[in-house]
Symmetry: C3
Subunit: 400 residues, 3 copies
Amino acid sequence: MDEAEWFEKVLLDVEKGIYIEDWSISGEELDIGGGGWRIEKKRLHGGLSDGVDLLTVNNGRLSIVILPTRGMGIWKGEYMGMFLGWEPPVRSPIHPRHINLEARGGLGWLDGFNEMVVRCGLSSLGLPGMDVITDNTGRKKEVMLTLHGRIANIPAEAVKIQIGLRPPFNLEVEGIVYERSMFGSNLRLTSRITTALGSNSFTISDTVENLRGVPDEMQLLYHCNFGRPILEGGARLVAPIGKMAPRDPVAAEEIDSFDLFGPPQSGFVEKVYFMRLIADERGETLVALTNRRGDKAVSLRYHVKRLPCFTLWKNTAGLGGGYVVGLEPGTSFPNMKAFERMRGRVVLLKPGEKYHSSVTISVHLGSDEVQGVLERVEKIRNGAVPEVSRRPLEEFSPAR
Amino acid sequence: MDEAEWFEKVLLDVEKGIYIEDWSISGEELDIGGGGWRIEKKRLHGGLSDGVDLLTVNNGRLSIVILPTRGMGIWKGEYMGMFLGWEPPVRSPIHPRHINLEARGGLGWLDGFNEMVVRCGLSSLGLPGMDVITDNTGRKKEVMLTLHGRIANIPAEAVKIQIGLRPPFNLEVEGIVYERSMFGSNLRLTSRITTALGSNSFTISDTVENLRGVPDEMQLLYHCNFGRPILEGGARLVAPIGKMAPRDPVAAEEIDSFDLFGPPQSGFVEKVYFMRLIADERGETLVALTNRRGDKAVSLRYHVKRLPCFTLWKNTAGLGGGYVVGLEPGTSFPNMKAFERMRGRVVLLKPGEKYHSSVTISVHLGSDEVQGVLERVEKIRNGAVPEVSRRPLEEFSPAR
Amino acid sequence: MDEAEWFEKVLLDVEKGIYIEDWSISGEELDIGGGGWRIEKKRLHGGLSDGVDLLTVNNGRLSIVILPTRGMGIWKGEYMGMFLGWEPPVRSPIHPRHINLEARGGLGWLDGFNEMVVRCGLSSLGLPGMDVITDNTGRKKEVMLTLHGRIANIPAEAVKIQIGLRPPFNLEVEGIVYERSMFGSNLRLTSRITTALGSNSFTISDTVENLRGVPDEMQLLYHCNFGRPILEGGARLVAPIGKMAPRDPVAAEEIDSFDLFGPPQSGFVEKVYFMRLIADERGETLVALTNRRGDKAVSLRYHVKRLPCFTLWKNTAGLGGGYVVGLEPGTSFPNMKAFERMRGRVVLLKPGEKYHSSVTISVHLGSDEVQGVLERVEKIRNGAVPEVSRRPLEEFSPAR
């Protein structure tokens, strides 16, 4: 696209020494698309959030808060006054410097987990567990991989704003995050997060490139988390399921109501279901979470070839414990990496090879809109009967 | 109390976006209680202290330095020109971001330990060791609990100053610190630290609330540490002991002089004694550390029902190694949590339940004042003969 | 030296509350030595470098960038337009707060490793592995020592600039870094980094003092790393070798060309050689790395009594993996500390004892200059035939 068609602003570029602490732009200033939209960057101070950068993109109807400091995750959002996200025990964005991923047997990631959308990856994701790496002396070494990997706790090295000066007036944020180490992975995530003025959706479009001189593994999962008000007793998942199995015996117990969500329940133990979703002729699938009455919903649209594994995380715990459902398209299921590798679900990138994936998240208000998205899911399903295993499948889950 | 009777200032509130880097107020400005008092907030820069907030409360005679960034601990103090605290190897307040609690087999806490008063807790305290938690999948998982827990290395999320505008003109600092994680503890510590103008004492009054939807464990210990000039060869502990035992054989060797402190001695290995103290009719106990001549002392006053376990930590090492004695009232003894749980000394809080505890620390100068406090200890003892075990007790210490 | 002969500026002193964020001085301002030199201090913002202080010392011909925040390491340099250092996977200086030394089985150090000169030490260095320490209760405890120790990830507590006002117009930076913990090491590193106006060299002169009241161990190694343009296919090491052995079988395979470096090669596994170098009558040795044509070189000069172990690290990996050679004079070889202790190569410092060491790094451009330095190496060698072991030696390396 012609450069003149874009307004561009670099907010961060560590190598070039650019860092802007506070900044904003709005429709009033740029004089496009009316006055309702606004992009704002600020830095938090004090507590565990000290030094966290927040980037709020408000397209006039939909607003999301991006966290460059937490690997370009999306903290929360709002659509026409409705809150998007969940109410986690950890309330504020936690600076990665306060997160020790190795803590409590590799569960330290949970000390900072509170985003609406958080990426798991990039060199590993899933449950903590032992894996074998090659160390600097060329020898095999057993190391602990920590829960859900490192990317959510690595600050972006570069952040750029782009605003399209012609319809549809796209608001775009590009962030670059490196997961790299001497003798280790060298993966560059370039994430573009885009929304058009007045739109009910935003798209996360990611490219992961292997900058290493040797082939290397990559895993990526979008942990998309929603609580009230869309989630409530009677809310349900609507998805074009091809094949499905519970992760473990606990999930198997409730296989008949896997797609129905209860009210907050203290002491609820998470139930996880692994699925393959059906795609349309363009390779896209669509999955939705709707409230009980069917007048509030959120949907995810993405290419199943890029993100072939869909995980449903039911965690309808009491409000203090995080009442939340996770919709998780990924390159893998969130088992231990060693298991996913064995099942052929870990991506191998050649030197310089790039992996593209994107997820579009849309919000639907009113029965008509919600009905519309459910019909689109049905159209993709096209009458197929899902292959549902009532027990964990060897293909999907390790034996417990 | 009527709001008009208080001057109030919020210095930090992460959720509301309030953070004041430098601030002070004094008797000259507020025109109460004469001109000698002052409260000052500043932020340190550089080294391992970069980003640490210091809050100095000086009531005109007694001054203490509170560390909101280190869980509302109290770094050091001064009373009428006399230093309060100790001379630790680690000289400056260390930002928690530089502390890896997991380091060296769970001893990382020691890299930042230099406070006069530091809380141990809240979900665990004591020696590092393995314990069993329930992970997110509902399964039991063995994890390492690190020395003295997390609370001293979590920055406060909110800090507020309150100054009473009528006698006794209280200077109060309220800080809120959260120890919380997804699938883990969700404990809120609200700490009020209060001193009256011209007083020789300050009170730490803490409330710990379980914000989780399920019952959860809590441990809390006030590690109060004093070195020179109160500690010296010939200094001694005066306490109304009900029952006492050495922690281990090393401490047992010096049981006959457990309450007497020697001069700094390089290579001294810590000796620890566990005690139950006697309380007065209101449930309060009083314990004092006096210098050799009995003209300098510090005392702790608190309710034994709230803090039933008293630990004496003798560490009269050479000056470079930290010449210090710890007076440690707690809900537990600082053994591994698993042992304390087995002995019924770990607090269980129901959802929403609060635990209150407070400690008043007073400084006494001159023989008359010191004599007075020792007499108050004797009055509480009321002639009781302490039950002293010359060997470690199964009730108090694990077998070694 | 008379104080009047020096210009002095304190940039950081945590205990005194001094921290200067941005500062510079140049020949124009101080009016000595012509206009070409400059010292500049700045603080980086954003990404993993947020809060890192950079101190650039440019003597008019040679420029180096010192990292007070990373233990007074030297990030990179430039000599008459030629880059000094290497091209590591990790591009920017990483704040120690983002480094978890315990990660991946003790390899976390590699996440921040990108310096031209980085110190390994001080209480341990070398490969990660188990060692036995004495904990606070006086008992032996097995702990993991992490790769290359802590010193490179501890910010300096004090930094001072000194500029000589008379010839040779020395530019000096003094930094103080403490590696200390309660019940642990208490080592103070005082590092002076000096260069004279217009010189082709700089000297790192370090003093490590044991501030503990008891004897304590110390290890120190200067990991000096060079890549392009000095390193290239055909570059070689020129050193007055007394005795040498490969570290392991992998290195033994290429023993005949240990001193010759190949072009970047993806998948290259590091090869390491351990050496004793010969010194001249003053106890100094000299070792050089030259490019293929012999018109670009870098040399290290130091006292072998202070740094008796020389390690050559060949890591001529593909460019994305870090094409680099390390010249590493040290008190030890970088094996696990337990092995080095067994071989008598761990320094023991008495209370208050100091250990001095220094390394002078010079850059040589043009065939004449390079020829000159090679001749000085030959003069030190003085015809001695190196004792080369074709297999790992028990004296130098643990059995694999």
